[in-house]
Symmetry: C2
Subunit: 492 residues, 2 copies
């Protein structure tokens, strides 16, 4: 794979000087045109020549307008990053549409080096590769242009480069331990890199292998590729973000998972209060234990309007310490959130160790309301299933307890509750004309919820369908599920 | 001061039970009304009874809708927080308009405890008090309702409370070292607290001292005060955010700081290139040193359109490592930024140790464009001077190098540049009709810039007025100022 990057290609100083003004104009032109467009650019600079990556970062900042560039060179994890799933640190640095983010010592280079030094084994490397694939695919499916460069240097040249950098007092500090490892274990690095690069080279995120020995050739090649790729992409018409079609109504006799829920389940007040007290004691104990152990949790609540999500959440939080949980109501996204891939706004709220994030509505909006109301294209909501599974998989892998609840309800009970709410002064805020309108789409939502549950109920993040016609039953059920899951997770 | 909180007031269980439903309805009602209004609530829970604060946090989460509450209990600094000015951790947790943030073990309680244990001296305590005053004033001037409760417990009761908590296996972990210190050094804590509370009790942010011995009395009192204060505030008409008036034009013959700038200063190309190379070498060295030492910098660029801010910034960054600086172009705020006090968006970008943030336009927009275009009320931009001085003071106190540049230009030269830009393909993006329109307000901007420089040029954050008619001169001037300031800062 790297043979083509050992051909000894160079660009003479004269050619470089001649091309530089054109490259600058070209880069600035695409950069300014990008600002008017609706997608971001993820520019990855990896390679065995890490010092070269830094040089390219710098030259790009010189040639382009640095106001609309942001470079991220990932070194040591900060504590806040270490307490969350690995890709949290990458998600938080993503740029909004119209801008370019440059990434060095990034997700792929990191995985390769960690494998070579033995920080991770083959199984973990495979997992990383899948994470990388899913990450880049989610971004490019959302419209991002993912442009990846791998700066390759043959062993001899690399050795010389590191040596000379180490001798230069102004440069020596830039040589990291991992750069020395890359030279020392050159063969291993090449083997792992070849495999990982092949696995992470996909249509939408191909690696461009660049011969890095001659800096002039390298800079010119990278700049030209950026100009070409961006020009090509900018010439494409913007993608539709909204779909006009609504989800097909369910076939009249289709039986869904939800139909099988026994909505007649009930709990009388005395039994309810007895159970409630017992479960609160238990949950208080478990939550404290989880906090002390640094175990974090993410609970997502979905369900019909007025199904009692809020009430169930309040019965949960009652037993937890307000300092350790956060309830995150999901409503319309802010414009900053809209300028990113849709999962970005949920990654923002991934809790620190020992903390709990409770989502009142969640990332499932994409396959529920956005699908049914035609706010997302069919393509977008269809691919969301695997994006979501990947997101939750990363949480679970980091040891986060992920629980998902669908609070179910009959149409009749919902109507009764709407009417009742309108009579209570501090509840009437909860009822809007939208709520009634949504009732017309009941079967569309039912179909969407059914498919969602089937496609995203995974081992590490199961859906729990809760019968919500009786509020007491639902609250106790949620509490029981949470307690059981926490106890099990804490046993590990 | 605390005598009134040692009267032994209690609320019987019966009264509590009777009042609870009314308090709940009251709290929910004001909370939902708040959601429709345009200000946030900063609810501070301090006191010598820190365990009581946690209990109140929890009861408020139970009685109110936790979806629109966010509690922050500040314990150990995270690394990312430790690397920035002290109040960064508070700014980042602020809630947008319409929501309530609850803060415990917060800025005031923290300062008191740190003074008692000797972590900070009297001078530092005074500084903290000023920071607290400025912080709360900035928020309340922006419309926030700052509601502060101090939960006071007499020594005996407090001792008993800590002891019993320590004996309870489920509670013992909640008792922090500082809670024990508060009991052990009760007298000192009371003395310091009394002084600090008096100094931080201002019209817009009065402390409510609550007798905390009886939990029922305490909860009812806090809840009632919240309901009353919010009801009162919600009854007030919303404040105007925009002013219709433009800044008065300068008196025809007023001489401004800017008039004294010698715009004829020039640099020929050979001298420019010689100096440029020398300064780049010097800056590269200084930047690396600063990075290694963990010294961070904030540079703000203001000046006329087309004055050459961007070019000067690029000549600066040329000598720095792209991994260590970030250029932040300031344009219209996002809706998330608009939902906070105006400095929030700049606090977000305060750099980590060893990093540089370069602002292309800055927080000075409030006293420049927002003032001249009538986007901020006169009251708002007038108080911005001291808000800004305080912000920069906190940066400087943390060891951040703060440099501010006004790149000056004559009206004739500006026009010449506009015309020239229109002819260059990748520069024409920079010219909009707004640019021409702004020229009509030249004297208004001149007056505003003059006042800004006079009011915000401080010892720790001086304004540097750069003659911009000759681009070469301006770039070299900026580089020299930066080099000199960095060298001086690194000598310390």
């Amino acid at each position: 794979m790297f043979e083509t990057a050992e051909l000894g290609r160079t660009t003479s100083k004269k050619d470089y000087k001649e091309q530089e003004p054109f490259l600058r104009v070209g880069l600035l032109t695409v950069q300014y045109e990008l600002r008017e467009s609706d997608f971001p650019v993820i520019l990855v600079l990896g390679g065995n020549d890490q010092l070269g990556c830094t040089e390219v970062l710098n030259i790009l900042h010189e040639w382009m307008d640095p106001r609309y560039l942001a470079a991220h060179v990932f070194e040591r994890l900060t504590q806040e990053e270490a307490e969350r799933p690995r890709f949290w640190r990458y998600w938080r640095t993503l740029r909004p549409r119209g801008q370019i983010g440059l990434y060095s010592r990034e997700w792929t280079s990191r995985a390769i080096v960690e494998r070579v030094v033995g920080d991770i084994d083959e199984v973990e490397l495979d997992r990383r590769v899948r994470n990388i694939q899913a990450f880049e695919k989610a971004l490019s499916d959302d419209g991002a242009l993912v442009l990846k460069f791998w700066l390759h240097m043959p062993k001899k040249a690399l050795k010389k480069r590191i040596k000379s950098a180490e001798k230069n007092p102004g440069r020596a500090w830039r040589v990291l331990k991992e750069d020395r490892i890359i030279v020392k274990r050159y063969g291993e690095v090449s083997d792992v890199a070849e495999r990982v690069l092949r696995q992470t080279s996909r249509d939408e995120s191909l690696w461009n292998i660049v011969e890095s020995t001659d800096a002039n050739y390298r800079d010119v090649t990278v700049a030209q590729t950026i100009i070409q790729s961006l020009t090509k992409r900018l010439a494409q018409p913007p993608k539709a973000r909204k779909s006009r079609r609504h989800a097909a109504a369910a076939a009249p006799n289709a039986i869904t998972v939800l139909d099988r829920v026994d909505l007649s389940q009930k709990l009388e007040k005395p039994a309810y209060e007895r159970k409630l007290k017992r479960l609160w004691g238990r949950l208080a104990e478990l939550s404290e234990k989880a906090h002390k152990r640094g175990m974090s949790s993410v609970f997502a609540f979905e369900g019909w309007d007025a199904a009692g999500k809020g009430g169930a959440i309040r019965r949960l939080t009652r037993a937890m310490d307000a300092a350790h949980y956060r309830v995150i109501p999901i409503a319309a996204p802010t414009d900053e959130e809209l300028a990113h891939q849709y999962l970005w706004r949920f990654w923002r709220h991934v809790p620190r160790e020992g903390h709990v994030a409770i989502f009142d509505r969640s990332w499932y909006g994409r396959v529920l309301v956005e699908r049914v109301e035609g706010l997302a294209t069919e393509k977008a909501w269809k691919r969301a299933y695997s994006e979501i599974n990947d997101f939750e998989g990363q949480l679970a892998h980091r040891g986060v307890l992920v629980l998902k609840f669908w609070v179910h309800l009959s149409q009749e009970e919902q109507l009764r509750r709407f009417k009742a709410r309108e009579k209570v002064p501090f509840k009437k805020y909860k009822i809007t004309p939208d709520d009634y309108r949504n009732r017309d789409r009941w079967s569309g939502y039912e179909l969407a919820a059914d498919e969602m549950i089937q496609r995203t109920s995974t081992d590490h993040a199961r859906w729990h369908v809760v019968a919500g016609n009786d509020k007491r039953w639902a609250r106790i059920d949620v509490l029981q599920i949470v307690c059981r899951a926490m106890a099990k997770a804490l046993e590990k």
